[in-house]
C-alpha cells in the first residue's frame, strides 16, 4: 500500500509538471513592436508626439487584450545615421521586425533600403517626402504625401487670387520635393514663385531671409518648416514691417503655432490631414490624450496611436510579418483619424482639409 502511495505521488508530480508545461506552450507571446522616433534634436517635438500617441495605444491594448505588446523605443536624434543605428539595434538585438518610425523623411529614406533588404516592416507616421512613395514594398506610412499638400495649397493660393509667392522650406528630404510640387502646380495656375529658400534644420535666425523676401514683394510666403521655425520667421518678418499672407503645411497645425505666434499668425492658411473629429475613436483618443498630456493631440500623435493599433490588429489576424504587409494593403481600418486605407505603394489615402487661423483657433475653410 505504501509502495502504491509513493507511485501515485510521482505520477501526480509528473502530470502537474506536464500540465504546467502545456499551459506555458499555449500562452501567447507578446507582440514585439519597435518605435524609432526623433526624441532629441531638431525634430524632437514631433517625435515626442508620435511616442505619446504610441504609448497611449500600447496602454490601451495591454489593459484590454490577453496578447500584449512589448514596445521598444529608440531615439533617432533627428539624424539619419542615428536612425540606422537604432534600426540595426532593434533588428539584431531585440529581433523586432515591425517598426513604427516617428522621424523625419531623411531618417526614413536612410532606413528604407535596410528594411527592404531585411524584410522589416517600417511604418512611418511623420515623414511626408514624396520620395517615400517609392521607398520600397516594406515601407508604409499614415502621414499624407507632401506632393498632395503642396499641390492643394498651390491651387488654393491661386483661387485666392495670389499671383506671387515665396517659399521657405527646410533643407532636407521633405522640403525640396515640397518646393518642386508647389512650384510646378502654382506655375500651372499662372502664378510666379519669386524665391525658394532652403533653411537649415534647427536654424532660428531668419532676419536676412525675411529682408530678402520682403524686397521681392510676394503676396504670400509658403512655409514648409517646423512650427518653431515658422513662428520665428513670421515674428522676425513682422519686426521689419513684412506682413504677407502666411501659408503652411500640416506641421503647423499645433497648439504652439497659436500660442507662440499669437496675433501674428492670424489669417494664416494651412493644409491639414483630414481627421474625422466627430468619430467615436477620435473623441475617445483625444480626451484620453488631453487628460494624460495636457494638450490637444496633433496629427502626429494620432498617427502614432493609429500605427500601433494597425500593426497590432494586422499581426493578431495573421501572426506573420509578411502577411501583415498584405493585410495593410488589402484592408481598410478604423482608427482615431477615421477610415484608413493604403494605396499600392503603402501611402495612406486620406482627405486633405484647409484650415485658417481665426480668433486664435484653426477654422476649417474647406
Amino acid at each position: 500500500m505504501k509502495r502504491f502511495n509513493y507511485q501515485l505521488e510521482i505520477i501526480t508530480v509528473i502530470v502537474t509538471v506536464m500540465l504546467l508545461e502545456g499551459c506555458h506552450s499555449f500562452e501567447k507571446k507578446n507582440v514585439q513592436i519597435g518605435l524609432i522616433a526623433d526624441l532629441s534634436g531638431t525634430m524632437a517635438t514631433y517625435g515626442k508626439w508620435v511616442k505619446e500617441g504610441a504609448e497611449l495605444a500600447v496602454a490601451e491594448i495591454n489593459s484590454n487584450s490577453t496578447q500584449k505588446i512589448d514596445l521598444s523605443f529608440e531615439d533617432s536624434k533627428s539624424d539619419p545615421k542615428s536612425a540606422l543605428s537604432a534600426l540595426e539595434k532593434l533588428y539584431n538585438i531585440n529581433k523586432i521586425r515591425m517598426i513604427v518610425a516617428g522621424n523625419s523623411s531623411s531618417c526614413v529614406m536612410a532606413m528604407a533600403p535596410v528594411v527592404n533588404d531585411k524584410k522589416i516592416l517600417l511604418f512611418s507616421t511623420l515623414a511626408s517626402s514624396p520620395n517615400i512613395t517609392n521607398a520600397g514594398e516594406y515601407v508604409f506610412r499614415n502621414r499624407i504625401s507632401g506632393t498632395f499638400e503642396s499641390q492643394s495649397m498651390a491651387i488654393e493660393a491661386s483661387k485666392l487670387g495670389m499671383k506671387s509667392i515665396a517659399i521657405l522650406a527646410t533643407n532636407n528630404d521633405a522640403g525640396i520635393p515640397y518646393i518642386k510640387a508647389f512650384t510646378d502646380k502654382f506655375k500651372e495656375q499662372k502664378g510666379e514663385i519669386v524665391a525658394s529658400i532652403l533653411i537649415n534644420p534647427g536654424q532660428s535666425d531668419f532676419r536676412s531671409y525675411a529682408l530678402l523676401i520682403k524686397t521681392l514683394r510676394p503676396e504670400a510666403v509658403f512655409l514648409v518648416t517646423t512650427v518653431d521655425q515658422a513662428v520665428n520667421f513670421i515674428n522676425q518678418s513682422i519686426t521689419i514691417g513684412f506682413t504677407p499672407k502666411w501659408l503652411g503645411i500640416s506641421s503647423l497645425k499645433t497648439d504652439q503655432f497659436i500660442t507662440n505666434g499669437g496675433k501674428n499668425v492670424e489669417g494664416a492658411i494651412i493644409t491639414n490631414e483630414g481627421i474625422d473629429q466627430n468619430g467615436k475613436r477620435y473623441i475617445e483618443f483625444s480626451s484620453k490624450y488631453f487628460k494624460k498630456f495636457g494638450e490637444n493631440p496633433t496629427i502626429y500623435a494620432v498617427n502614432g496611436y493609429d500605427a500601433i493599433h494597425l500593426l497590432y490588429e494586422s499581426y493578431i489576424r495573421t501572426n506573420n510579418i509578411e502577411m501583415v504587409k498584405y493585410e495593410l494593403l488589402r484592408n481598410s481600418f478604423s482608427g482615431a483619424a477615421g477610415i484608413i486605407k493604403f494605396d499600392e505603394n503603402g501611402d495612406v489615402v486620406k482627405d486633405l482639409e484647409l484650415l485658417k487661423v481665426e480668433g486664435g483657433k484653426f477654422i476649417s475653410i474647406k
Binding site: T45, D228, V231, I238, I240, N264
Partner: protein
C-alpha cells in the same frame, strides 16, 4: 532701405559676437585652453531665465540677474572641482579641452532632459513692428541687446583697467608665474575670470534667446562665433576683438542675404582659415606680452 536694414542686422549681430568673444577671451587668457563648457553656460543662462521668468513667473528684471549669477556659479564650481585639480596635475591643454567638451555634453543633456529639445520661446513682449529709421526697422529687443552688450563690454574693460582685481587678472593673463612671484593668488584670479566670463556668456545667451528662442544646443554655435571672432581679431587686443566680431557678423549677414544659409558657417570657417594662414596674429597683429623667467 535694404542696405540700412542689413547694417542694423550687422550691428545687432556684432554686439552679440563681441559679448560672446569677450566672455570667452577673458577666461582664455589666464588658463590658455579652449573651455567649451562656456557653450553650456550660454544655454544655462537662457534656460534658467526661462525657468524663473516663464515657469516660476518671477519678474524678468529679477530673473535675469539671478540666472546670470547662477550660471556664473556653475562655471566657477566646475573650475574648482574639475579644472583646478587637473591644472595642478599639469594636464595638457588638449586634455582640458576634451574634459570641457565632456562637461558641455553632460550639461547639454541635462538641459535636454529637463526642458526637452524643442525651441522654447523667451519673448519678453508681444512681437510687433520695430521703430522705423529711413525705411529700415529696429526692435526694442534689438536696441536693448545692443545697449546691454556694449555697456557690459565697456564696464568689463573699465574693471580690468582700473580695479585692483582687474589689474590682477591682467597680470595673471600676461604671465601667471610672474604674477605669483608678486604675491597674486592666481587660482583666485582665475576664478574671477571664469565668474566674469560666465556672467557675460549667460547674458549673451539670454539676449539671443529673447529674439530667437532657446534650444539646448544654442550655446555651441554662439560660442564658436565668439571664438572665431577672438582668433581673427587677435588674441589680447580689445580693438582687434571688436574688429573681428564686426568682420565675422558682416560676413555672416551678407552671406545669408546674398548667398544661402548653408554657406554662413562655411564662410566663417573660411575667414578663420585665411587668417590662420596669412595673418595668424589676427587683425590687431598683436603678440601677447610675455616675460620669460
Amino acid at each position: 532701405m535694404t542696405f540700412l536694414q542689413i547694417l542694423i542686422n550687422i550691428i545687432y549681430t556684432s554686439c552679440i559676437v563681441i559679448l560672446l568673444s569677450y566672455s570667452f577671451a577673458i577666461s582664455y587668457y589666464p588658463v590658455k585652453f579652449f573651455n567649451i563648457t562656456f557653450a553650456a553656460i550660454i544655454s544655462t543662462g537662457a534656460y534658467l531665465t526661462y525657468l524663473l521668468f516663464r515657469q516660476l513667473n518671477i519678474i524678468l528684471w529679477i530673473a535675469i540677474p539671478i540666472a546670470t549669477f547662477l550660471s556664473a556659479f556653475i562655471g566657477v564650481l566646475f573650475n574648482i572641482f574639475i579644472y583646478r585639480p587637473l591644472n595642478k596635475k599639469k594636464a595638457s591643454s588638449l586634455l582640458m579641452l576634451l574634459v570641457s567638451l565632456g562637461i558641455y555634453i553632460i550639461l547639454q543633456n541635462c538641459i535636454s532632459l529637463l526642458w526637452g529639445d524643442e525651441i522654447r520661446s523667451l519673448q519678453i513682449a508681444n512681437v510687433k513692428i520695430g521703430h522705423e529709421i529711413f525705411g529700415a526697422f529696429i526692435t526694442n529687443v534689438q536696441i536693448i541687446t545692443i545697449s546691454v552688450s556694449l555697456t557690459l563690454f565697456m564696464l568689463t574693460i573699465y574693471f580690468l583697467e582700473y580695479n585692483k582685481i582687474g589689474k590682477c587678472i591682467r597680470a595673471v593673463s600676461t604671465n601667471k608665474e610672474l604674477a605669483s612671484i608678486q604675491g597674486i593668488n592666481s587660482e583666485r584670479v582665475i576664478l574671477w575670470t571664469i565668474g566674469i566670463g560666465s556672467c557675460l556668456a549667460a547674458v549673451a545667451g539670454i539676449l539671443v534667446a529673447t529674439e530667437n528662442g532657446l534650444t539646448p544646443t544654442m550655446g555651441f554655435n554662439l560660442l564658436l562665433s565668439g571664438v572665431i571672432a577672438m582668433i581673427i581679431g587677435g588674441v589680447g587686443s580689445n580693438c582687434g576683438l571688436i574688429g573681428g566680431s564686426i568682420l565675422l557678423a558682416s560676413a555672416q549677414q551678407l552671406t545669408a542675404y546674398y548667398m544661402d544659409s548653408k554657406w554662413v558657417d562655411a564662410v566663417a570657417y573660411l575667414i578663420l582659415i585665411m587668417f590662420l594662414i596669412w595673418r595668424p596674429l589676427g587683425i590687431s597683429g598683436k603678440r601677447l606680452k610675455k616675460i620669460e623667467i
